[in-house]
Amino acid sequence: MRATDNQGSFLNRISIRRNQVVSMDGNHEQELEDIELFQKHVSDRFSDLLSPSDDTSADALLSISWLRKLLDVFLCCEAEFKAIMIMGRDASLISKPPLDRLFHELLDRNVKTLDVCNAVHHGVDAVRHFQKLAEIVVSALEQRPIGEGQVRRAKRALNSLITAMALEDKDGTGNKSTERAWSFGRRGGSGAVNKDRNPGQFRAISWNMAKGWSASKQIQAMSSNLVAPRGGETLALPVYISSTVMVFVMWALVAAIPCQERSGLASHYSVPRQLSWAQPMVGLQEKIAEEWKKKEKKGCSGLLEEIQKMEKLVQSLSEFAESFQFPAEPERLEEVANQVAELAETCKRMEEGLFPLQQQLREVFHRVVRSRAEILEALEQGGKSSTPIM
């Protein structure tokens, strides 16, 4: 399709501030101001995430509530980006160079973001699985007095939990391990009994993204063509800012929540250091990357604060269970009681926060879908990327 004369109708439909356009120059001024404000807002919001003003440990870095704040920040930034884009700007410019290439890249990033959202959404279900197993442990060890029975019960659940967490960590090979621990019915096709069953062996959640899909590769692809604009087209800067935010948020989510194939997550991504408005993001990214590198060696299912806590507690309780002799020493029991209480608290936070987190992820998903549709429409109106009719 040739460039059409449809500009009029398109602007009529989407421009909310068209009436406020006084002159091209005046409009341009306003734009630059808005972009500066955008930068400031981004900086402020991430600054808040880096060092929150009120000192509640519930908002520890990469905790569930912190992640929810992160998603909120993303939604705010996205809304502001949208507002700037439709600010009486001649929308047909989107479909011409150099902006058209930027927007095509943005479209691609949007698609990857959608896939990451889905993967993380699924990963949260894996976390919920941990929670359910941990609740068994809590249930067992909350009983008084703690006897053989309770400890054995806890041990079964602890073993399953440890295995589940380890399996989530084995990125690409996760599938194989899952199958081995869960061999039934595949040979012979019918429900052959697995005599080799491990007591208390619960299946880890199998990966549900496409085979070969890799979270870290997606992030890498998203950030590889993200290049800071060098003057020129004004709109390029907000696109860059918005994209930087988007990639960072996705990266942080993938680091926190179990996701398919994350090897090299921290090595191939970083926020450019020289951007003034991105300093808080840089700070966060460095912190998270450091944690990731530390944990990657030992193996970890996710940097989610609650998972980390759970892993520690589970390790300790597992040792207790292994070496348990009835009756146990009172100090030991008290220690265990404290740990169990902590575990219960962690489970509670998961219980309360995981579902809202998933709802927020869906909200992000919807927003990105809408964004994508709007960009596609703008590009097509501009006449560049139309599909030939025949």
Partner: protein, 616 residues
């Protein structure tokens, strides 16, 4: 009231049974399964468990309680394994092959929208009709929705996944586990085994794990095949697989505790359900282009058909998110359909090809558009619900030269969809008008328009649904238009030719000869011959694909040409024949002309200088 001694003995006996089956303690306990063996042993075991359970409250603190608790744990661990084992015996995926009508898979992966079928070979009228029918057949939404594969109609059909006896066993285990506070373990085991079974069924049904990125990258005809497969699979998933899982949960867990059957059901199907819907969601957000319309509508209709069943199967509060997702997808598909229609209209209006179609025949755009809207009329039931607003452009006399005008007030009482279809025909003609202007020959401009508008009329008449929506009023307008084009053509070509055969200017008054200027007459004949030759030569390469229209136009030409020539010849031939070389001037007999007219609009490939003349 039992004396304490016998109570203690009974308790010890029960404990002994439990301990005997402690799989961590003995090889034998590991190798055999209680529920696979002697029924009496099963009963004994269960009674022992019950006994231990009851005695918890009775036993005093101290070692005894510790022993009892330990026994309970051992029993629960054992029961858990037994539970898992019974479940594992019934994990074969549902035999869904027999449930899918094999005939519905004969629709091969050929493209369903006319988009891919337009090519140079489309100039043959007969072939076009066949192709249209074929496309129509392919597109009839008999993919699976009309198939007779399901013995019932399209309602839920639960299968008994596990035989009754074993369901009873499972239930008796579940009761005890839950009573002992081991609910969580029970749900976990159940969920993990059943979810794997559902995963196997999914694989059997060919449900793939594709990322949204993957789907955006696939070619549309590949996606069409996947959508078809998905529609078939989704029906089986929801109406049979999920429904059966729900029934199984109810069979095992209903009445034990609160909403445990719901929890188990969600544990089992949540992941697979999301995986299933993710595909439809990815399709609903993919880039829009005209050829996608009909598959999107198929998907929309299939999903809409399924929503009541989805609402039933996923009725619990905990499965709300699934119902919500399904509804969201449905609404996105509707939006996509609307958007595609709008884009189609835009594409028709702006279709830019300037190369004139040789011979003034039917333009591929015309065929494509008419096929497309015929298909739309097939889908009118759905589209009437989805398309609720009138076409947006051209509803006023905008003065915009790039868009035609269309007054909607005279089309009162028509559904929005019908208005869109009429609008599409309007803009098709508008576009064709623009294309016609590229012909250098004015006559060809008219012939082209005549051919194309006639084709439009034929297509509308050929489809009852389309005709009903377009309406006979507008059809009359179109008919008038192509008749007018025919008239314009005749004027453009034949006025000049017939002018040669006029009487005026030939008679000279007051001379010795018969009053006819021989010079002028010879000029006339020469001019007529030259003009007719040229017109004959050129217009034999033009084409009117419709045989009836071709005939009619020839007859119309003949009706004017032949009598005029006959009369001219009759009156003036003697004057020529009395002079030198009459053959230079009278080239055609009346029969020759009649024969030559038969060459017109035959679409001969190249202008031929020596066309057959039968009378020679």
């Amino acid at each position: 009231m039992e004396p304490p001694e016998s109570a203690r003995l009974a308790l010890e006996a029960a404990e002994e049974i439990i301990l005997r089956w402690d799989s961590t303690a003995s090889e034998e306990a590991r190798d055999k399964m209680i529920f696979e063996g002697d029924r009496q042993e099963v009963d004994r075991y269960l009674h022992a468990v019950d006994h231990i359970q009851r005695s918890i409250s009775e036993v005093s603190i101290g070692d005894d309680q510790g022993k009892v608790n330990s026994a309970i744990q051992i029993a629960m661990a054992r029961l858990e394994d037994e539970f898992r084992n019974i479940l594992l015996h019934h994990t074969t995926p549902i035999e869904t092959d027999s449930l899918i009508d094999p005939s519905s898979s004969t629709h091969s992966g050929t493209t369903s929208a006319p988009g891919g079928s337009v090519s140079g070979s489309e100039f043959d009228d007969d072939g076009d009709d066949d192709k249209d029918d074929e496309v129509d057949e392919l597109l009839k939404r008999g993919d699976s929705s009309n198939s007779v594969s399901y013995r019932s109609t399209s309602s839920i059909r639960e299968i008994d996944l596990i035989p009754f006896d074993e369901v009873t066993d499972l239930r008796s285990i579940a009761e005890r586990m839950i009573a002992a506070g081991y609910l969580r373990e029970c749900i976990q085991v159940y969920g993990s085994v059943r979810k794997s079974a559902v995963d196997s069924s999914f694989r059997r049904l060919g449900i793939e794990k594709l990322s949204i990125g993957d789907i955006q990258r696939l070619e549309w005809d590949q996606l069409e095949a996947k959508i078809r497969r998905w529609i078939r699979a989704a029906k089986v998933c929801i109406r049979i697989v999920f429904a059966s899982e729900k029934k199984l949960c109810e069979q095992i867990f209903e009445g034990i505790g609160t909403a445990i059957d719901d929890a188990c059901f969600m544990e089992t199907v949540k992941g697979p359900a999301i995986q299933l819907f993710n595909f439809a969601e990815a399709i609903s957000i993919s880039r829009r282009s005209p050829e996608k319309l009909f598959k999107i509508l198929d998907l929309h209709d299939a999903l809409m058909d399924l929503i009541p069943d989805i609402d039933v199967v996923f009725e619990s509060k905990s499965s709300e998110s699934i119902r919500i997702q399904a509804a969201e997808i449905l609404s996105r598909l509707a939006e996509a359909a609307r958007g595609i229609l709008s884009e189609f209209e835009n594409a028709v209006l702006r279709e830019p090809s300037k190369v004139p179609v040789p011979g003034g025949t039917i333009h591929p755009l015309t065929r494509y558009v008419m096929n497309y809207i015929s298909l739309i009329s097939d889908y009118k039931q759905t589209l009437n619900e989805l398309i609720v607003s009138k076409p947006s452009t051209g509803s006023r006399y905008s003065g915009d030269p790039t868009t035609p005008d269309m007054e909607f007030t005279e089309l009162e009482g028509k559904t929005p969809l019908a208005l869109h279809l009429i609008w599409i025909i309007v803009i098709l003609q508008f576009n064709l008008d623009g294309k016609a202007k590229h012909y250098k020959d004015a006559s060809l401009v008219h012939l082209f328009m005549m051919n194309n508008v006639h084709y439009i009329v034929q297509k509308v008449k050929g489809s009852p649904e389309l005709r009903e929506m377009i309406g006979d009023d507008y059809l009359r307008k179109l008919t008038g238009k192509f008749r007018q084009a025919a008239t314009n053509y005749q004027r453009a070509t034949w006025v000049g030719v017939l002018y040669c055969l006029r009487d005026e200017g030939l008679h000279v008054s007051g001379s010795f000869s018969s009053g006819v200027s021989k010079t002028a007459l010879r000029e006339r004949f020469k001019t007529f011959n030259a003009m007719f030759d040229e017109v004959h030569r050129i217009q034999a390469t033009w084409l009117i694909p419709d045989s009836q229209l071709r005939e009619e136009l020839r007859i119309s030409i003949s009706e004017k040409l032949i009598p005029a020539y006959r009369s001219f010849l009759g009156r003036f031939r003697t004057h020529i024949e009395s002079g030198k070389h009459p053959e230079n001037y009278i080239k055609y007999s009346v029969e020759d002309l009649e024969t030559s007219v038969l060459d017109f609009f035959e679409g001969f490939p190249v202008p031929q200088h020596h066309l057959r003349r039968r009378s020679q």
